[in-house]
Each structure stands twice: as structure tokens, then as C-alpha cells.
Amino acid sequence: MPIELNEEMVRQRIARRIAREFHDGDVVNLGIGIPTLVSDYIPEDVRVIFQTENGAVGAGPAPDKSDLRFIGAGGRPLTILPGGCFVASDLSFGLIRGGHVDATVLGALQVSQEGDLANWMVPGKIVPGMGGAMDLVVGARRVIIATTHTTKKGEAKILRKCTLPLTAKGVVKLIATEYAVFSIEKGQLKLLEIAPETTLDEIRAITEADFTVADPLITMQGTEEEKA
């Protein structure tokens, strides 16, 4: 097992790594939890346009004085940047489902090696509802998963097959955890990067899924960088 990392460090590391994935001009939707942190680490030379399901295009950081007429999908206050706009829900999901969103970053309960995603319910527990997640993963051009490598109990989250109810099948393209980065292409999971404090054997020990290993396998990018 890899050495355990501080929870806040884990969250920031995953967010920092994912923030390197975007191109100038990308339209990106961030889920709640770790994905929300991604916006703090976008490189200065990359202009990303953040979209929220509830209708903000060009969302900026939280304002000094909160105004509930400008909120994100999670209910948190936001600002609208110059050049941003507001859209109604039908157009918001038209943008999402229609392929006009370049990437979405979401958390996961489980991901399968073929890119199936489970992130919306645990049977027997209270049902929260899928919100916009099912549309986002089907519609966004690139689905990026930000997740701890295992559950708090140490159970694998990257599996051969998901056991929880699916959000969608075969949609995940990239997974970033505190220990590793995987891609999924044509139904094939591949380990691209591992964190400096871990080894390939340790990754195998905490990953149930079968995966190939990139050659060369490189050190996880941006783990120790300063906040942008």
C-alpha cells in the first residue's frame, strides 16, 4: 500500500493535476467536491470558460459579497466574468448534451476499466438523484474523473466492473487520483503517471482493474507545484 497522504493535500493534488489537462478556450464544467478546486490551478496562459448546469457561462470565483442571484450548480455564490452570460436550463443542457462543452470533471464512487462510471447512488441509502451528472458524462467531449484512489475503508474504486448503479457506460477518458493518472481509450485502461511516493506494485495492489502501463511511465505531473 502507498503511504497515506493528508486529505487536504490529496484533494489539492488531484485538482492541480487535472488543471493541466485543458487547452486555451476549453469550455469546462466542474462537479462538486474535488472538481470544484480545479479552477484554482488553471495555468495563467490557458483561458478556460467555466460553465455551470444552472446556467452560467463564464463563471468566475466567489464574490466578496454573496448574492444568491449568481450561484453555481452546488449553490455556492459565483461571479460572472466579462464576456460571460446566463442561459436557461434547456440551452444549458443543450450546450452539455450537444457536445459544446469540452470537458467535465466529476467525482466517482466507482470507475470500470472500460470507462463505466458510477457516481450517483448507493442502493439502500437515501437516493440523492442524478442531477445533471448523467447528461454531463454523455455530452461533454471529455469526461475526467477526480477521485481518491480507494474508498475511506481502503476498497478499490477503479474496478473491472462497477457494482453500483451506473451513471453511464463507457464515457470516462481520464482518471486522476492522489497516486496515479490513467487514460481510457477504446475500452482500455492505461496507467500514464504515478505519484513520487508510490510504486507500480503498490498501484496494482490498490487497483482492482486490469490496466496496461505507459512506456515510459512518468512521475505524476504537478504534484508539488505551487498554487497558480
Binding site: V127, P128, M130, L166
Partner: protein
Amino acid sequence: MAKKVIKPVLSAAEAVKCIKPGMSVIIGGFNYGGIPYTLVDALVESGVGELTLIANDTAYEDVGHGKLVANGQVKKVVASHVGLNKKTGQFYMEGKLELELCPQGTFVERIRAGGFGLGGILTPTGVGTVVEEGKQVLEIDGKKYLLELPLRANVALIRAYQADRMGNLTYFGTNRNFNPIMATAADYVVAEVDSVLEVGELDPNEIVTPGILIDALVVKGDNYYANRT
């Protein structure tokens, strides 16, 4: 019956009298934003029950239409997300509440289909998940889609920004969300607004919802959230 050209500006209590026990009510809003708080509080106050509530979410148990659920006035919820209101989950688990969950993009398209006279829409969202259960799956050009059916209600309570006396509406910030679409999908539509202007004071290019969809106007009241949204 044609709607009135000049819309009555009612108190919230008067406006929600159109909602009778057993009716379906579609309510605007997303999380804290764009809920017609004054109208919803009046509906809570009225105590009318056995309602079918169609809304994106059930807010929080002490906020907006979340109170309708907590107050036991709702027999069925159609929504995309109910996790923030503990009472919704609790009543559902106890068998006191029927719950129909839709992906959010499907939810808004179903309401639009109801308001726009469409028989349904085909969406790729939910294919291969529990959302598929009981639905027709159609394959178009080798890709699977679910057939999702229209949603309508007896009454819609929506939140807008400015109105004119003919019921034309504009929206502000992320309060817009589902409100413009919901205005099309009920037999009787009440809009809660910040202010009511004279006819001709709104730029016809900036009106989002045509007044021909609206039955009555209510000016937002003085409660905590109505003042903040």
C-alpha cells in the same frame, strides 16, 4: 379560454388559490436560485395537500418548496435531485412520498415537450442505467436513445425579474434556470417578479417570456430568500 391581455397583479395568497388539493404544480428554481419564494410560502401557508410537485430539486427542508415536502403537502415529487432536503428522502423511504427522478437535461426537455406540444424526445442520457427501466429504447444510426415523455402541470409558479402589465418577463442572473421553460407547460401560470412595469416599458428584443403565456403576476414579498434572489 384566452388569457387576459392585462394581467392581474395579485397578492401571493390570492394567486395560489388556483391550486387545489391533488393538483400538479411545477415550480421554478435550482438550489437557492430562482425559486418563487413568496408564492411558495403562500402555498405552504394555504396547507393545500396531495400535490404533485415538479421541480428540479426539493431545495432544503426549511427553504422554498422544500417546506412543501417537509409540511406533508406533497404526495409525489418529479425532480432531478432531492439530496439536499432530508425530508424528501425520509418520506420516500417511509413510503409516504412517491419519487420520480429524471436526469436534469431530460427533466427540462420533458417540460419543454409538454409546453411545446411535442410527444416526446429521444436522449442518449441514461442509456444503460436504471433510468432506462420501463422506457422505450430506439436506435438511430446505430446509437441508442431513450424515449422520454412530456411533463405538464395544472399550475406553474415561476420567478422572473421584471414584468410589464401584459405579463412579458425578463430574468436576472442564474435565477433564470428552468423558469422560462416552465412558463410554457401549465394551464395556469403565475410569475413572481421584482417589479411590474407599464406596457411598453420593456424592450421587445429583451423580453424572454411572452406575456401570452402568463395568467397572473405577484410582486416578491419581504421574506429572507425572496429578498436575496
